[in-house]
């Protein structure tokens, strides 16, 4: 077991305990930031040399896990930086227990790290459930009936959903078992090795349960009902993590099963099921964007839509797998930036209604400009990353002799962009005279921390749109190969 991998899981948990003991917000924020920096640094060192997975170990890292882990770590760092002005200046609403914020956020990071580093499917399940438990109290950060409702729905629906994923996990164990009841166990490497001998019926049933179970947590339609509530009600730095990092972790659960199906020589069935749920999510997400008047819920529904795009890319297989994974990266970074920037709007206006916010260009010029850029980036306009990933998936769909699928895909993306821009751009323009005003004077350092992290995330999205750097390209290719797709 590599010490670095152990550090990635244990450090956030220990830091959470340390933060819990100190009853000072100042100390907690330092612990939060320090952990985020060490975590990101350790993940960075994994990029330089990937430790070879030890067969039989229950934790380890591969290209796919590293991709999801890196996104979680980067977004966590951005959220931790943003949390400093967010928590010290006071927020627009009354927090229920502000001293629980940092410890829970750190536990959340530890659970997400364990999801990405698990080499055993049952352990991964336990880690996914742990992410739910660590993040649910964060959704109820503000003492509002609405956020309580969101937290309860999230807890119950996701717990019930992923209980089914556990059943699917056990089905895989049955699929590998011989007449004496001995089998490969639930280690991912063992299952991949014996994949061709797996019983196909149990394998398919396992994939269906995993897709439904982890799909609930990933926000695939029609299992997404809790998502807009949870992402809309939680504090924005948490929303950024829920949308940008946690949804990826749930997707990783599905992808582990998909990879085993692919290794078993049966990728078609699982791919088709991903395609169906992917299109359902794209359709439902886009339809819900239309006429949405709460800009945080708007961003949440956009996540449903984008999870659909990723599922479609991976469902197609072949070179679209690469496109789907690239879109995973793009969506995380852009959506993280969008949630943090929208939080700047919320803190300046005190409302999440997009109709009561006007003239952000004058009141918060820098955030407003970045928000405009981020909407373009997320909407799939060149020269940003989502454009490249969506075009990759589109070309693959056209090449496969399924032109109507490609056309429907692009048409829905177009509608989604118009819906999002239609709600967001009026917020930036116009006269802010009639709008609620809650902004207090802010220090330069705090303004920098509120604008810097989303600006850096957007800059990475821009780089990915111009040219995917070689290191990222290699990891994406490695991850696509695990899923049986070519690059």
């Amino acid at each position: 077991m590599s010490p670095r991998i152990l550090l990635l899981i244990a450090l956030p948990v220990l830091a959470a305990a340390a933060a819990w003991r100190s009853r000072s917000m100042r100390v907690q924020l330092w612990v939060l930031l320090g952990t985020a920096l060490i975590h990101a640094g350790t993940v960075g060192s994994l990029w330089l040399d990937l430790p070879r997975p030890a067969p039989g170990a229950i934790v380890g890292v591969d290209a796919l896990g590293l991709l999801v882990l890196t996104l979680a770590s980067v977004l966590f760092l951005a959220s931790a930086l943003y949390s400093i002005p967010y928590l010290t200046e006071g927020t627009h609403d009354e927090p229920s227990a502000p001293l629980r914020y940092a410890p829970l956020l750190l536990l959340f990071l530890g659970a997400m790290s364990l999801v990405t580093l698990s080499r055993n499917l049952a352990l991964m399940w336990a880690a996914v459930e742990a992410t739910t438990l660590a993040s649910a109290p964060l959704i109820y950060f503000y003492r509002r009936p609405g956020s309580l409702e969101a937290a309860w729905k999230y807890l119950l629906i996701c717990s019930v959903g992923i209980a089914l994923a556990l059943l699917g996990t056990f089905f895989l164990g049955v699929a590998s078992a011989g007449p004496d009841g001995r089998g490969s166990g639930l280690g991912i490497d063992d299952l991949l090795r014996v994949a061709p001998q797996l019983d196909h019926r149990w394998l398919r049933a396992a994939f269906v349960l995993a897709l439904v179970g982890y799909g609930t947590k990933m926000g695939l339609a029609p299992l997404h009902t809790w998502l807009p509530d949870a992402h809309g009600q939680s504090p924005s730095p948490v929303s950024a993590l829920l949308s940008g990092a946690l949804l990826n972790c749930a997707l990783l659960g599905i992808l582990r099963f998909h990879a085993i199906n692919a290794a078993a020589g049966d990728p078609g069935i699982s791919g088709q099921m991903l395609l169906v749920l992917g299109f359902a999510s794209l359709l439902v997400g886009t339809a819900s964007l239309l006429g949405q008047r709460d800009y945080k819920r708007l961003l949440a529904y956009s996540s449903v839509e984008n999870m659909g795009v990723i599922a479609i890319g991976i469902g197609f297989g072949g070179s679209a797998t690469y496109g789907g994974l690239l879109h995973l990266v793009n969506h995380s970074l852009a959506k993280g930036a969008l949630f943090l920037l929208s939080c700047n709007v919320l803190r300046a206006y005190g409302t999440t209604s997009s109709e009561r916010v006007r003239g952000a260009r004058r009141r918060i010029p820098l955030s407003a400009a970045l928000l405009g850029v981020a909407v373009f980036a997320m909407g799939g306009s060149p020269p940003f990353g989502p454009f490249v990933s969506e075009v990759t998936i589109f070309f693959d769909a056209m090449r496969r002799g399924a032109p109507w699928i490609g056309v429907a895909f692009v048409a829905l993306l177009g509608v989604a962009f118009v819906a999002m821009a239609g709600a967001m751009f009026p917020m930036l323009q116009g006269d802010d005279a009639g709008c609620p005003k809650v902004m207090a004077r802010r220090s330069l350092r705090h303004q920098l921390l509120a604008v810097g992290p989303p600006a850096v995330l957007l800059a990475i999205v821009l780089v990915l749109g111009v040219r995917v750097p070689r290191a990222i390209d290699a990891i994406l290719r490695g991850a696509a190969a695990i899923l049986g797709g070519s690059s």
Binding site: A126, P137, L156, G178
Partner: protein, 218 residues
């Protein structure tokens, strides 16, 4: 001796049915605790039925863990929630009790039908294992959907989770004990967090109907 294992699994289904049919919250929680005891005894009984020495360290740990968590710790948490909230029974369920019992009968039939088709490729000591597991998953789902009180919904989630746990016992020969225990621990923490949420719900809304939790919609 597979008779003992058969008996435990049959009781598990009956207790699940009882949970669907009762409206008293205390009875529901007691039934859930009873399921916890049955779950604890089951791994030992299954080993006995398979002709293996029924007791060794991992299996005793698992049995003790299941009973400690599912029959003692979780029911205590739930009873405390009921006391704090001051509710005693499920008054107006989404689906009437008669309707739920009818639904439960259909679901149990479905579970046995599925159990006929999904034959495990190896002997597990009882033919009832798969039907009992699927029955509890389906009945748990029914309780979550058909009841309004937050506590009853948690009991439903537990029944569902118990069904999954029973199925997991089929993998006793290839599953490290650590994994089963971490799943148990997750469920315990899960119910603990749900208990806190219930506490806040009863304070905020003055009752436990999750109907009140329906302001967030388009």
């Amino acid at each position: 001796m597979s008779a003992v294992a058969d008996l435990l699994l049959a009781l598990l289904i009956l207790v699940g049915l009882y949970m669907v049919s009762t409206s008293r919250l205390h009875a529901c929680v007691r039934a859930s605790a009873l399921q916890g005891i049955l779950l604890g005894l089951l791994p030992i009984a299954l080993r006995w039925a398979n002709g293996i020495v029924p007791l060794d360290l991992p299996v005793v740990t698992l049995a003790a863990g299941a009973i400690a968590i599912k029959a003692i710790a979780i029911p205590r948490l739930l009873v405390r929630s009921i006391r704090e909230a001051g509710v005693r029974r499920e008054v107006e369920p989404m689906v009437s009790l008669h309707g739920s019992i009818l639904g439960a009968a259909v679901l149990i039939g479905l579970a046995f039908w599925l159990g006929e088709r999904m034959v495990l490729p190896f002997p597990v000591g009882s033919k009832l294992l798969v039907p009992a597991a699927i029955s509890n998953v389906l009945l748990g789902f029914l309780i979550v959907v058909a009841r309004r009180k937050a506590i009853t919904q948690v009991v439903g989630y537990l029944a569902l989770e118990n069904g999954v746990f029973v199925f997991g016992l089929a993998l006793a020969r290839q599953q490290p004990i650590l994994v089963e225990l971490s799943v148990l621990l997750d469920v315990l923490v899960g119910v603990f967090v749900m208990g806190i949420a219930i506490h806040h719900i009863s304070r905020t809304f003055d009752h436990l109907d999750t109907d009140a939790l329906a302001s967030l919609r388009e």
